[in-house]
């Protein structure tokens, strides 16, 4: 491993850099607020009452700790390593997104902000944000690409039921990247009273750090549960990556366990030589949405459109800590196609009676390839970061089933 640091858990530096990645690339109007957010976050981190409230909400509102589950029939079917799942799809709202939203809305209130905005792709982060806004009585505006609004109607309705205003964004390709641009435009115009709840471990510092910290509950619980249940640590962690918040949440507490391997799974869409959403596999370092990271872009630095069957992975960038973990070699990254994810989706339904979201279906597809190569006494732990109810229409269409 080249330039291996003493610890992989001390990033970012005080300027928000993970090696050459991360940072604060925002318009000047936002800088004072970003600096203020960093200061508030440091104070909150040192304040036991903040952690107490966060933990209490995670336990009684979200339903944590989520179970650690050994998947016997999947393990048998693949005939290699034992496969375990961290069941974050059982959280309130059906995905890991809520962990982060709870943390950020507590920060927003601490800062005296009275209005919440967020971007959403598939709508999972939008639903989680609308949920915490309803819980705390704050007005909420969700920016969502018009294309996504059309193909994710159930989530649009959920957000509205929860009291959020959903603003369809028509600029660009009208998907997640454009929703994020529009959220930033709203924020610039409303910095005095508005808090932006970013949905993944990306954006300007301190967002990648604080989202990681809030999501690290996944890895902390999993590490304890695994030790308690088996007396050992897993050999390999596996998680799907769009922006990378569920993956960093699982990986981070294990980064300094040298015997624990880690595999991040990007979306290869139609294939890495065609349209995809794998910014590490097919992109180059660049600057977008407040941070320096790997981006899908052309030779002029224009951002190219991503594609994945999973709307939650359909983004041309990735969190900066993953870019750094790739460069240091600590985490291995791979990519699986839409078709492989669809097969894995059906495999888990059939073998374990769990309908996974299309995002973790990518992690499962990577496990299908990897488990067979590993001995039967080895352990793979994957994050089942979301449930698949939201995806059944997409899957039906992909399989040619009329509903």
């Amino acid at each position: 491993m080249e330039n291996s640091p003493n610890s992989f858990r001390t990033q970012p530096d005080e300027r928000g850099h993970f090696g050459q990645f991360g940072g604060r690339y925002v318009a000047e109007t936002l800088m004072p607020l970003i600096l203020d957010l960093e200061k508030e976050y440091r104070a909150a981190k040192a304040d036991p009452s903040f952690k107490e409230e966060f933990d209490d909400l995670l336990e009684h509102y979200v339903g944590r700790p989520s179970p650690l589950y050994f998947a016997p029939r999947l393990t048998e079917e693949l005939g290699g390593a034992q496969i375990w799942f961290k069941r974050d799809e059982l959280n309130h709202t059906g995905a890991h997104k809520i962990n982060n939203c709870i943390g950020q809305i507590l920060l927003a209130m601490r800062m005296g902000k009275t209005r919440i905005i967020a971007e959403t792709g598939a709508g999972q982060h939008g639903v989680a944000t609308a949920t915490v806004c309803a819980r705390f009585g704050l007005p909420c505006t969700i920016f969502m690409g018009a294309t996504d609004v059309a193909r994710q109607q159930p989530n649009v309705f959920r957000m509205k039921l929860l009291g959020a205003e959903v603003v369809p964004v028509t600029s660009g390709a009208a998907t997640l990247k454009d929703a994020m641009n529009e959220a930033l435009r709203d924020w610039v115009a409303n910095v005095h009273d508005t808090f932006y709840i970013i949905g993944t471990a990306a954006g300007p510092h301190p967002y990648p750090e604080l989202v990681r910290d809030f999501q690290s509950v996944i890895g902390k619980e999993a590490r304890e549960q695994m030790l308690a249940r088996t007396g050992r640590l897993p050999d390999l962690l596996v998680a799907a990556i769009g922006g990378g918040s569920n993956a960093i949440g699982l990986f981070h507490p294990f980064l300094d366990d040298p015997d624990v391997g880690m595999l991040g799974v990007e979306a290869a869409g139609h294939g890495l030589d065609k349209q995809h959403a794998a910014s590490l596999a097919g992109g180059f370092p660049g600057i977008l949405h407040g941070n320096k990271t790997y981006l899908l872009q052309d030779e002029d630095g224009q951002i190219t459109e991503a594609h994945s069957i999973s709307a939650g992975l359909d983004y041309p960038g990735i969190g900066p800590e993953h870019a750094w973990l790739k460069e240091t070699g600590r985490v291995e990254y791979t990519a699986v196609t839409d078709d492989e994810a669809l097969d894995a989706f059906q495999l888990l339904c059939r073998t374990e009676g769990i309908i996974p979201a299309l995002e973790p279906s990518h992690a499962i597809a990577a496990i299908v390839k990897r488990a067979k190569e590993m001995p039967q006494d080895s352990v793979i732990l994957a994050n089942l970061c979301g449930r698949g109810d939201k995806d059944i229409f997409t899957v039906a269409e992909a399989l040619g089933v009329e509903m």
Binding site: R15, G23, R24, Y25, V26, A27, E28, T29, L30, M31, P32, L33, L35, S171, G172, K177, D178, M180, N181, L184, R185, V188, A189, V191, H192, G286, I287, L288, H289, G290, K292, L295, Q297, E299, D300, G301, Q302, I303
Partner: protein
């Protein structure tokens, strides 16, 4: 004296006109703005994700990219402009990613060859200056930074450190082409900033009419107009030059005479 310094040393405030490169017949449009009386030209480098811009300039970016504009085309437009107008300062405005894609040194050298005087990089906070600032300074290209209503006294020195050419005061906390700020707020912020720097201060965002421009020119060294010009290009296409000349002449008269 540099071209930019000369423009701000004129006996009247400067009119800064912005359009997006590759949106319409850019050469003809730029010539019209100079003929109308623009003192400084701000040329936008199109980007797929212009998150500090309002609808008018967003659309201009997408029209330009949709028409196939490449970075090489933007630089060619600048080079040709410099050949036709040896004395008019030219500022490239855009977002960080297209500027740093081939490395900061490459970009600084390309700017030098194209006769670009200064660069405005919207999403390069002073904290991330190493990505572009040193290469530009080495090449003698000014880096124009933005100050905003949220840039308070404690932060202003950070913004000024390494700024050159002029300082761009963003009149509203918001995106381009939307509401106009109250003149009282502009006046108090400009005079506050003036106490900390000798750089000329140009004010932009939300300035559309000669009347607004005149009001600002009474308190600032320059006035930037962008969205109103870009909208003319969107509406009039090939016939835009005549209309641009008309509006820039009215703006120039208002700005140049504001203090008389």
């Amino acid at each position: 004296m540099t071209r930019l310094a000369s423009a701000f040393a004129k006996p009247h405030p400067a009119l800064v006109c912005f359009i997006t490169a590759g949106d319409g017949d850019t050469a003809a449009n730029l010539d019209a703005l100079v003929a109308g009386g623009a003192d400084v030209i701000e040329l936008g480098m199109p980007f797929t994700d212009p998150m500090a811009d309002g609808p008018a300039i967003q659309a201009a970016n997408l029209r330009s990219l949709g028409g196939g504009t490449k970075t090489a085309d933007v630089l060619r437009i600048a080079t040709d402009f410099r050949a036709r107008h040896p004395d008019v300062p030219l500022v490239l405005m855009g977002y960080a990613n297209p500027m740093v894609r081939r490395g900061p040194e490459w970009f600084a050298e390309a700017c030098t060859r194209a006769g670009v005087d200064a660069v405005i990089c919207v999403d390069l906070a002073p904290e991330e200056d190493p990505d572009l600032g040193p290469a530009l300074r080495e090449a003698g290209i000014s880096l124009v930074r933005l100050a905003t209503p949220t840039t308070d006294a404690s932060r202003l020195p950070t913004v000024l450190e390494g700024s050159s050419g002029f300082l761009y005061y963003v009149a509203v906390a918001g995106i381009t082409g939307k509401q106009q700020a109250a003149i009282e707020s502009i006046e108090s912020n400009v005079s506050r900033i003036k106490r900390s720097t000798d750089l000329p201060i140009a004010v932009g965002f939300g300035v559309r009419t000669p009347e607004q421009a005149a009001e600002i020119a009474r308190v600032a060294d320059g006035v930037v107009v962008g969205s109103a010009l870009v909208e003319i290009i969107a509406e009039h296409g090939a016939n835009a030059p005549a209309k641009l000349r008309e509006l820039s002449a009215a703006l120039a008269a208002a700005v140049h005479e504001a203090r008389n």
